[in-house]
Amino acid sequence: MRDVILEARDLTRHFTLGGGLFEPKTKVRAVDGVSLTVNRGETFAIVGESGCGKSTLARLMMRLDRPTSGQVLFNGQEVQDLARRDMAPLRRDMQFVFQDPFSSLNPRMTVGKLVGEPLEVHAPELDADTRREKVAALLAQVGLLPDHANRYPHEFSGGQRQRIGIARALASGPRLLIGDEPVSALDVSVQAQVVNLLNDLKQDLDLTLVIIAHDLAVIRHMSDRIAVMYLGQVVESGPADQVFDAPRHPYTHALLSAIPEPEPGRVHNQLTLKGEMPSPSNPPAGCRFHTRCPFAQDNCRTHTPLLDAADTDHQVACHHWKTIPEAGKPAPPRRRSVGAEERFALYRAALQTTQASATHREETS
């Protein structure tokens, strides 16, 4: 029996835009009938193009927003109708890491206050000193210095800020961490640090992670299971390996093939999509992907495909997934020059030995 920690059942969130003073009302179908389950202890990834409803879904699951219809269950408990007072445990157990490390930290609070705040809320019994110690421990946990507590967010680099955000999310001792594109705003070397950090934390603290992203390489690196979204709907979901190795949905194909690999001269068998993503306020009829799908046929324009089990665990919402040519497996990484490989090995080795002392140095500075 799988141990489900979070479940979404047919979640829908429609925004009514305008209708105020300026415009006629338009309805944006940001999330449109999404169901998924997250198992305890796993890393679950949600991928999809910008604007496909990932953040909205995350906010719904966090109960930062109310669904138009559908349910969210956390530990088997329906979260929608929780009274204010019953929200506290939920807020403690389920935490959020924001996409934008620049705008998600109150610029007028010190890092110490920011990280200490969840403690204040969820462990009000702690005295100031204990809290300060815990903050220092949290900062250390995400690789920051205790001294950083007195600084303001703007004094940190993006990667450091993202760590602050993570420390803040960890402060209440959550069981589940939802990251809304927690690494998208970071550059590669920092991104790698945060990815490692999240993986470490997950292991050390026995967390369940829900990671939202559009960078598939990162997702692939981190996740156990994955759902691919397009225009407010899940078009494919399954174990990460299966989805990456044998993508079924043409959109997943396209996403995978569009990722530029850091290998000059590599020939892509790129599946180029036509045009732009349609507006979620006026989604196409039938299969929502048909306007950009190279394999679209007549029935795609009229009939909405349902999520269909390709394998026991691997589902896809496409009328024609069986007939779509399989994507070529990504070629194995090209070999670098012999000297280069040696250098990489040296680097890896050197890092391992210096890591401990580097951390040590940082702490004493």
């Binding site: 680099s157 590669v188 790698a192 690196h221 990456f244 790129q270 732009e276 990484p333 680097y347």
Partner: protein
């Protein structure tokens, strides 16, 4: 002193743009943020500058365009040769008549880089009207052509739309159209795809490549996404702490990276095809300008650093056009490094 320039490997073509000893300083900081940069780009080629976020790529590009906010930035040093003119970047960069005409730039933020108050068509046409002696109709006509070329569907209609009516990808294409409308001989693209989705990014990269091959324009492409570099670059310059630490043809740098920082960067990238082990990273963060170490700026984060590194390493050739600024290149042949293991 710094070694050879990062430049194209095609000896035959003359460089369109050359940058000599360019340095840049934020007012109030004694240390230069960008220090002694030498660059050279030839026609039809793309030089990619790679480096961590915040290392000064954007401000350098803006300096070339003559767009620096004078009140916060100071250029102690630097000359630029462009189309037979020498510009002394200390006093002023590019003049306004060349800017937007012979040399153009695409910015990092497509969502905010278009003026929300004016129609797309007018914003593009403005660039033509300003630099060319032509009528409004002609300018609008060429804006239309340009929109068509950057692959915007229904360009006739888009001309009359406002930025908010376009998606991010389209806005970036409009920005490209605006930059390219006067057929510049040199284009600076500052992370033109960072804000976009992978599928749109692929389209934009294709577009730039295509336009470049059509017009023979030289391009300076700024990014920190190694995947993008691999896709588009002819040559690469890797920057760290405001200095070039490694430069060369894209193949050479990717297949035979020399500098520990380049190696670190490349290790950090998760690969679709790679293993799912813990990622190798560059530990620590870029020191702030105030804390920038003397000598090799990478030494505080370099696992191989020794006391020697307190002296600044010169950018010296390790292969054809391939130069590295490291005392210990190539690493695997350094006894000291091996012994350290």
């Amino acid at each position: 002193m710094q070694g050879s320039e990062a430049r194209s490997d095609t000896e035959s073509t003359n460089p369109i743009l050359q940058l000599h000893q360019f340095s840049l300083r934020f007012r109030g900081h004694p240390e230069p943020a960008v220090d002694g940069l030498n660059l050279s780009v030839s026609a039809g080629e793309t030089l990619c500058i790679v480096g961590e976020s915040g290392c000064g790529k954007s401000v350098s590009a803006m300096a070339l365009m003559g767009l620096l906010p004078q009140d916060i930035i100071d250029i102690p040093n630097g000359q630029m040769d462009f189309e037979g003119h020498r510009y002394d970047l200390r006093s002023d960069g590019l003049d306004a008549s060349t800017r937007g005409d012979r040399m153009a730039m695409i910015f990092q933020e497509p969502m905010t880089s278009l003026n929300p108050a004016f129609r797309i068509g007018d914003q593009i046409a403005e660039a033509v009207l300003h630099h060319r002696n032509c009528t409004r109709t002609e300018a609008t006509e060429s804006a239309l052509q340009m929109l068509r070329r950057v692959g915007i569907p229904a360009p006739q209609q888009r001309l009359r739309e406002y930025p908010h009516q376009l998606s991010g990808g389209m806005r970036q294409r409009v920005m490209i159209a605006m930059a390219l409308i006067n057929n510049p001989s040199f284009l600076i693209a500052d992370e033109p795809t960072t804000a976009l989705d992978v599928t749109i990014q692929a389209q934009i990269l294709d577009l730039i490549r295509e336009l470049q091959s059509e017009t023979g324009m030289g391009t300076l492409f700024i990014t920190h996404d190694l995947g993008v570099v691999a896709e588009i670059a002819t040559n690469v310059a890797v920057m760290y702490g405001g200095q070039i630490v490694e430069s060369g043809p894209v193949g050479a740098v990717f297949d035979d990276p020399q500098h520990p920082y380049t190696i670190g960067l490349m290790s950090s990238v998760p690969r679709m095809s790679g293993s799912r082990d813990r990622l190798i990273t560059v530990p620590g963060t870029v020191p702030s300008l105030a804390d920038m170490p003397q000598g090799c700026r990478f030494r505080t984060r370099c696992p191989f650093a020794t006391d020697n590194c307190a002296a600044r390493p010169a950018l010296s050739d390790v292969g054809p056009d391939h130069a590295v600024a490291c005392h210990y290149a190539p690493l695997e042949q350094q006894d000291e490094v091996r012994c350290a293991m």
